[in-house]
């Protein structure tokens, strides 16, 4: 197919634009360049072309100017010399039309495209930067695999290897044998987990069966035990009843025999109240009380007779009681009196002392000395004021004296030392400042440091020059090679070093090759067990020799020998014939060995040449720098040059250091001269102020002396000024202190006058000093207090003595009345005795009255008791009559017997009732006969047995109950929930997932296997067609850097190898990036030829693929395109003007279409 014209009627930015490629040129290549700047619409045109062939894309981007409905493209297509004008609109069906606008079937075009789809077309027959890049990468990833490369190039794909690798990876993610983390492995794990979970909660039918059996058996046993227990329990109850009844019967019999012994008379009816015992008791008690009453009355009368009363005392009872209070006062006064008298004497003493203190011991009436109260008050007040006045006066006087002292001291300090005149001092100051500002000492120090440091460097440089020796002068005069010469030597040395490395590497490579070929040779030999040419020739010679000898002798021995030789030769010949190809290999290998040996030799020669050139250069250097390299033993050229460079640099260092040293010495001299001038100036200035410096004193010391002098002068001035200021201040202070002294003295005088005025008219009017006034006042106040106390005490003593006298008289009078003898006894004792007698008399009178009352009461009681005794006797007689006995004690005995009899009778009746009901019989007679027939011993044995059996049964029952409950619980716990069913569902799903993943895994793996095998088939089918084309194209495009392409079998496949001009070869994936692009291009071109060989060609469209190519490469590419254009139409889209020119220079007939 060929594109004659492309009509861009309404498409993208184009309206009614057409590109006319014209008719196919008859003798020139059908190559077209469409040139347009960026945005001119090159990509639009390419897209329009594909849309024309395959229909406008569903979501075309080229509707920005013309709507989908109005989009239209067209063109003139050529098929095998037939032309077809078509146009295309955008619609779902019938989008293709012929020249007349009639719908046209898609087959009109597709039939000529041999089933190419849009995708396939654009990947196979268009090429741009991106696909070129991807193609280059694909070569790298294919690892040179020929099948993949051919396929990649033919299909225009850049990712075939990627796709297969990705599928393989995907498959490995699903499953790998014994891998733990693949998806299937994880699912298997999940499956196992679910199984465990199910087992944990499920109850299997078999388990259920066992549980149910257990439950039934336990129930059965339980029921049987229960029945047996009931029977035994009943029997046990019966036995127990008999056991309880037997003692009852015995009791009844015992009671009956007792009854027979008791009297058989009716019990008397009771007409009295209370019991017989009470009656007896009452009788006795009444008689006893009557007797006691009589005794009591007699005793009371006797006591009354015995009591006597003191009437005399009772007559004065009131007076005696009145004595008590007065007697107490009498006693206490007697004790107090001596003390009070002592106190009066002490007060007398105090008064005497006070009078003495006041200087008035002779005063007869001390009270006359007392001052009036208002005088005392005024004086007290004044005494308090006095101390303040005295103190302030004293202080003012002290301060004034101190101020005067200070003034005198200040006056003494002025004017001891005087200063030197100002002009002389100013001159000295100027000289000192000049000396200080001068920098000559620092300069000397710095220059000396520089000199020392340069000396060290010089020594170091001289050391580096050893073994050469000599002074600096000699060194500077020495001749040395110029720097340009040195550079030339270095370049030469580098070249020689590189050459040597290259030759050595090459030699090693050839050695390796020799080893490889040798082993290869050995292998070939061993594999076929072949005789090589020499061996074969030797054997042939042996055979000919044997024939000759046999022919000469014609003996049996020689015949045998010949036969053996012949057989051997035949065998070798046959072997070589059978392995002709190996033989050929063998020869080739041998050839290779020979070639390798030659190469080794060549490389050796080259190495030797290099060494020789190095030696020549060394000699030259030694000659040129003989002085510096005096005894040098350097082994190699490089070392020698290094040494020379080092020596030269040392020499340069030494000379530079020497220059610096000289400079430093000059600077030092200059600085010393400056120092001396300054010293002189300073000395003269010092003399002018009167200081004679020492002759040999250094400048620094002189400066210090001058400084010190100036400092002292300044201090002297300051001190004088300060002293004068101080005197003025002290004088002012003294004046200020004298004023307070006067004020204080005035106040003192006023006080003295006031005191005098106050004392006027008292006994103190004349003669008392101000200071004694306070103590006089104190003594007067104490005297007045003592006089008062003494008067009060004297009055009390008089009252006490009057009291005592009154009591003594009263006691004497009463004692006479009461008959007491009171002659010389103390009145208080008489009083006590009277009081005691009065108390005794009153107690006796009261006791007699009480006894008379008691006798009266007792007499009343005796009358009442006599009445009670009479009533009791009546009742007693009644009881005795009822029982027919004589005494009350007989009555109580009889009564007891009758009560016992009645009790027994009712007890027996009750026992009989109980017995009958216990045995559940109708009457006592039956019960009695039943019990009398029983053997109680046997019953006891039976009972024990039954009890034991019952205990066993109880235990068994409990066990069965537990078993049954346990089984029932477990059965109940099973439940009808759907948990297990749900786990089963989940397990089923996991299994399905495993199946799905496994199927997918198999699909992926088989896909990869099958694709690999299909790629091999592809290779076989296309290699011959494509390889020579690709090889030529590659040689051309690399401008002969590579001579072509070849292949080499590797295990299971074949790899593509590029051969270099120098005979070396590289596997495709080892090529440089640029070379890979070129190889991909070459393969694509070959793919195009391969396509066109079997089918009508289609236009090939390249879109600016030469961005990275240089001028020469671009030329070659156009040359290739021009060759391709002989097979089919080639259209190149570009925005580079220079490419158009290159194309024109290579292919003069190229047609350039400019797109605007």
């Amino acid at each position: 197919m060929r594109l004659r014209r492309l009509d861009l009627t309404r498409y993208g930015k184009f309206t009614d634009k057409a590109i006319d490629f014209g008719e196919k040129p008859s003798s020139a290549p059908d190559l077209h360049i469409v040139f347009g700047l960026n945005e001119a619409g090159k990509s639009t045109a390419l897209s329009a072309y594909l849309d024309l062939l395959f229909g406008i894309e569903e979501r075309s981007r080229y509707n920005f100017l013309h709507e989908y409905s109005s989009m239209r493209i067209g063109g003139l297509l050529e098929f095998e010399g037939r032309t077809l004008a078509v146009s295309r609109t955008k619609s779902r069906g019938n989008s293709l039309h012929d020249a007349e606008g009639r719908p046209l079937s898609e087959i009109a075009i597709s039939a000529n495209l041999t089933g190419l789809s849009r995708d396939a077309y654009s990947s196979m027959f268009s090429l741009d930067d991106e696909t070129l890049e991807a193609g280059g990468r694909a070569i790298l990833e294919s690892r040179g695999d020929l099948g993949k490369l051919l396929f990649t190039a033919s299909a225009g794909l850049g990712h075939a290897s990627d796709v297969l690798a990705a599928l393989d990876t995907e498959a490995d993610g699903l499953y790998r044998k014994q891998a733990q983390s693949t998806e299937i492995a994880l699912l298997k794990k999940r499956f196992a987990e679910l199984k465990l979970r199910k087992e944990a909660i499920d109850t299997l039918a078999s388990t259920f069966e066992a549980l149910e059996a257990e439950r039934v058996e336990a129930q059965d046993k339980y029921d049987r035990s229960l029945a047996e227990r009931a029977v035994l329990s009943a029997r046990l109850a019966t036995i127990e009843r008999y056991a309880r009844a037997a003692p009852l019967l015995a009791e009844i019999k015992r009671k009956a025999s007792r009854l027979a012994e008791l009297p058989d008379m009716p019990s008397p009816s009771r007409t009295w109240s209370g019991s017989v015992a009470e009656l007896i008791d009452q009788d006795t008690r009444l008689r006893t009380r009557l007797q006691a009453n009589a005794d009591e009355i007699e005793r009371a009368k006797a006591k009354i007779e015995a009591i006597a009363v003191d009437e005399a005392v009772l007559a004065i009872s009131e007076q005696v009681r009145g004595l008590a209070d007065r007697k107490a006062r009498y006693l206490s006064a007697g004790m107090d009196l001596p003390t009070r008298k002592m106190e009066v004497q002490m007060l007398d003493q105090v008064v005497a002392t006070c009078l003495a203190a006041l200087g008035r011991s002779a005063e007869q009436d001390p009270s006359r000395l007392t001052l009036p109260a208002f005088v005392v008050g005024t004086l007290r007040n004044m005494v308090e004021q006095r101390s303040g006045i005295t103190t302030s006066l004293q202080m003012a006087r002290d301060e004034a004296a101190a101020a005067l002292d200070r003034l005198n001291a200040a006056r003494g300090r002025v004017g001891e030392e005087r200063a030197v005149p100002e002009p002389a001092r100013a001159r000295l100051m100027a000289a000192v400042s000049g000396a200080k500002q001068s920098s000559h000492t620092r300069e000397i120090r710095e220059a000396r440091a520089v000199e020392a440091e340069r000396q060290i460097r010089l020594a170091d440089a001289m050391r580096r020059l050893q073994p050469w020796s000599g002074d600096v002068d000699l060194l500077s005069k020495m001749s040395v090679p110029p720097p340009t010469q040195l550079a030339a030597w270095k370049t030469l040395a580098a070249d020689l070093r590189r050459d040597k490395a290259v030759f050595t590497e090459r030699l090693a490579e050839y050695e390796q090759s020799r080893i490889t070929t040798s082993s290869w040779l050995a292998a070939v030999r061993a594999s076929a067990n072949l005789a090589d040419d020499e061996t074969a020739a030797a054997i042939r010679r042996e055979r000919d020799e044997a024939w000759r000898s046999h022919r000469a002798d014609l003996k049996v021995e020689t015949a045998d020998l010949f036969a053996t030789a012949l057989a051997k030769d035949d065998h070798v010949g046959a072997g070589r014939l059978a392995h002709a190809s190996e033989l050929a290999d063998l020869r080739a290998v041998k050839q290779k060995v020979a070639e390798t040996e030659a190469a080794i030799e060549r490389a050796g020669c080259q190495l030797a040449g290099a060494s020789q050139r190095a030696e020549i250069a060394s000699a030259e250097i030694k000659e040129a720098a003989s002085a510096l390299l005096h005894h040098c033993q350097a082994q190699s050229l490089d070392l020698l040059i290094g040494l020379l460079e080092e020596r030269l640099s040392a020499r340069a260092d030494a000379l530079a250091s020497w220059d610096d040293i000289l400079l430093a010495r000059a600077r030092i001299e200059c600085a010393i001269a400056e120092g001396e001038r300054i010293h002189l100036a300073l000395a003269s200035a010092l003399q002018s102020v009167g200081i004679q410096p020492d002759a040999g004193e250094p400048l620094e010391a002189t400066v210090v002396a001058a400084d010190r002098f100036l400092d002292r002068q300044a201090k002297v001035d300051a001190e004088r000024a300060e002293a004068l200021r101080s005197i003025a201040a002290k004088e002012e202070e003294l004046a200020a202190r004298r004023l307070p002294v006067e004020i204080a003295e005035r106040r003192e005088g006023a006080w003295q006058a006031e005191v005098k005025e106050t004392l006027k008219g008292t006994w103190l009017e004349e003669g008392i000093a101000g200071t004694g006034l306070g103590s006089v006042l104190d003594q007067l106040s104490e005297l007045s207090r003592a006089l008062q106390d003494r008067e009060a005490m004297r009055i009390r003593i008089r009252k006490m003595e009057a009291d005592r006298t009154a009591l003594a008289e009263e006691v004497a009078r009463l004692g006479a009345k009461g008959g007491e003898c009171v002659s010389d006894e103390a009145p208080e004792q008489v009083s006590v005795r009277l009081t005691e007698r009065l108390e005794q008399a009153e107690r006796a009178r009261e006791a007699r009255a009480n006894l008379l009352l008691d006798v009266q009461t007792l007499r009343e009681v005796r009358e009442a008791l006599k009445g009670e005794v009479g009533a009791n006797d009546t009742t007693k007689q009644e009881v005795l009559d009822a029982f027919g006995v004589r005494t009350l004690s007989e009555v109580s005995e009889r009564d007891e017997q009758l009560r016992e009899r009645d009790g027994l009778q009712s007890t027996v009746a009750e026992l009989e009732e109980r017995l009958t009901s216990e045995l559940a019989l109708e009457d006592f007679a039956q019960a009695r006969s039943l019990l009398e027939c029983l053997d109680l011993g046997e019953l006891a044995i039976e009972k024990a047995e039954i009890e034991r059996r019952l205990a066993d049964l109880d235990e068994a029952l409990q066990q069965q109950l537990v078993r049954r409950t346990r089984a029932t619980d477990k059965l109940d716990a099973i439940g009808g929930d759907s948990q297990v069913a749900r786990i089963d569902a989940e397990r089923r799903t996991v299994l399905l997932e495993i199946e799905e993943k496994a199927a997918r895994y198999i699909e992926l793996k088989l896909g990869v296997m099958s694709a690999a095998s299909a790629l091999r088939v592809y290779r076989e089918r296309h290699r011959s067609g494509m390889m020579s084309q690709a090889s030529d194209a590659f040689a051309l495009i690399t401008r002969g850097q590579y001579t072509g392409l070849t292949t080499q079998p590797v295990n299971g496949g074949e790899v593509l190898i590029a051969t270099q001009r120098d005979g070396q070869s590289k596997v495709a994936d080892a090529l440089s990036k640029g070379a890979r692009f070129q190889l991909y291009l070459a393969l694509r071109l070959a793919g195009y030829y391969e396509f066109a060989k079997l089918r009508p060609s289609v236009p090939f469209i390249a879109d600016d693929i030469m961005e990275t190519f240089d001028h020469l490469r671009s030329e070659e590419v156009f040359r290739l395109f021009s060759e391709m254009a002989n097979v089919g139409q080639v259209i190149y889209l570009t925005h580079h003007k220079h490419l158009c020119e290159i194309a024109k220079s290579v292919v003069p007939n190229v047609v350039i279409h400019e797109l605007r």
């Binding site: 190419l116 299909a155 109850t203 297990v980 569902a985 495993i994 198999i1002």
Partner: protein, 419 residues
């Protein structure tokens, strides 16, 4: 007045669903016990319709079931029927014969299980007496017809036969007590309550023959709605049959034609439309679809390459439809109407052709077969059946997987080129 009963069979209680859609936890929660839900629905139906009896024509369990929880559940449902006075007539099927829990179950006395000899039970209805004839074969295999063992019809009663049989045979079902429809018609019973085949079938004729099918499908091979039969026997012994839906979830194969579609979005719209159409037609609560994309579409390579994305989109579409899940996505698409002819210009198609010829080359197949067997050997025994139960199955699997792998590789190469 009339005698009414519900007829079901092949309940396969607690036999799990087999669908990858259950990977979705939500769906697993909803239908993880679908067979129970279906059985509960049957009992609910009996109670709601106040029927006189429930007939279960075999395969109440699956042979694999060993959990007594299953038995307990069954017992509880039987107790409900017992309380409502519904008699249950039950025979054992081939799967029941294998079940271990059958023996352990204690059921109310209103549940009548027919034994190894034919037995006839008469139940008096309000207007008509009904005789149930049944027979349980004790072994999982019954190569001979069981019909001769059944009693003759009872005079004056409506006769109902209960039988587990594969009839004349059905794909996917083992042969069991084979028997011809004609023979059954000729036996003189009013109604034959059959079981064993999981697809509902009604054979009219002299008597009513009903194979009710499984009441809850378990995988896509048991697709469609599932049901039981409500039978009314009128006083004149005429029989009326009604079908009642029981399936909770229903499986469907949904085919979506993508011819002419060239955009993803459009493809998804078509998928959703296809699912919606099925959803509207399906009466079961949940729909589980096996989606198959067919037709000629430029999108085919891209769909096959990005299969994961396509599955995710389809699942999302199903979610939008509601109560619908996609269990699997299958492709039967071709890229263009012009197929690969002899002289293929496109090297990718040439490669595909070469791979296809590999698939038919015995050398390659034997290598592939060996690989498949080796892979399968490392899977759990229950997960090996996908590669075929026998040799023929394996070959079929190989055909499928090799064809799939050609499409897979081609799709990756093709679709990758336009990326």
């Amino acid at each position: 007045m009339a005698f009414r009963f519900v007829h079901t069979a092949d309940i396969h209680l607690d036999s799990p669903l087999r669908s990858l859609a259950l990977r979705n936890a939500e769906l697993a929660e909803l239908v993880g016990d679908a067979s129970r839900q279906a059985f509960t629905a049957i009992v609910d139906l009996c109670l709601a319709e106040r029927v006189d009896a429930l007939v279960i024509a075999g395969d109440l369990y699956d042979g694999d079931q060993t959990s007594m929880k299953t038995a307990r559940f069954l017992a509880s449902q039987m107790a409900r029927l017992h309380q409502a006075g519904v008699t249950v007539y039950m025979i054992r099927g081939n799967h029941d014969a294998m079940s271990r829990i059958t023996k352990q179950l204690v059921l109310p006395d209103t549940v009548i299980i027919f034994g190894g000899r034919c037995q006839s039970v008469i139940q008096s209805g309000p207007g008509v007496d009904v005789a149930f004839h049944g027979l349980s074969f004790a072994s999982p295999k019954a190569p001979e017809s069981l019909l001769p063992k059944y009693a003759a019809p009872q005079e004056g009663a409506a006769n109902i036969g209960i039988m587990h049989t594969s009839l004349a045979g059905s794909p996917g079902h083992d042969v069991y007590a084979p028997c011809s429809v004609a023979d059954l018609h000729g036996h003189g019973f009013e109604y034959w309550a059959l079981g064993h085949i999981h697809v509902r079938q009604v054979y009219s004729g002299a008597s009513a023959l009903v194979m009710p099918g499984i009441p809850q499908g378990r995988d896509v091979n048991e697709a469609g709605e599932k049901s039981v039969t409500l039978v009314t026997i009128r006083d004149d012994r005429s029989v009326e049959i009604e079908e009642r839906l029981t399936s909770v979830a229903q499986f469907e194969r949904v085919s979506v034609d993508l011819t002419g579609v060239s955009e993803w979005g459009e493809a998804i719209i078509r998928v959703r439309a296809g699912l919606e159409q099925f959803r509207e037609g399906a009466r079961s609560r949940y729909l589980v679809a096996r989606l198959r994309l067919v037709g000629t579409s430029a999108l085919s390579w891209s769909l096959m390459r990005d299969r994961d994305l396509a599955v995710a989109e389809a699942e999302q579409a199903a979610e939008q439809v509601g109560d619908t899940w996609v269990e699997k996505l299958e492709f039967d698409l071709s890229a263009s109407a012009v197929g690969g002819l002899g002289n293929v210009a496109d090297p990718t198609l040439e490669l595909a052709q070469s791979m296809r010829s590999n698939a038919s080359s015995e050398a390659f197949r034997s290598e592939a077969r060996e690989f498949v067997l080796k892979t399968i050997a490392d899977l759990p025994p229950d997960a090996r059946r996908f590669a075929g139960k026998d040799e023929a199955g394996l070959e079929q699997f190989l055909d499928d997987v090799l064809a799939g792998s050609v499409d897979l590789v081609t799709a990756r190469l093709k679709a990758g080129a336009t990326r």
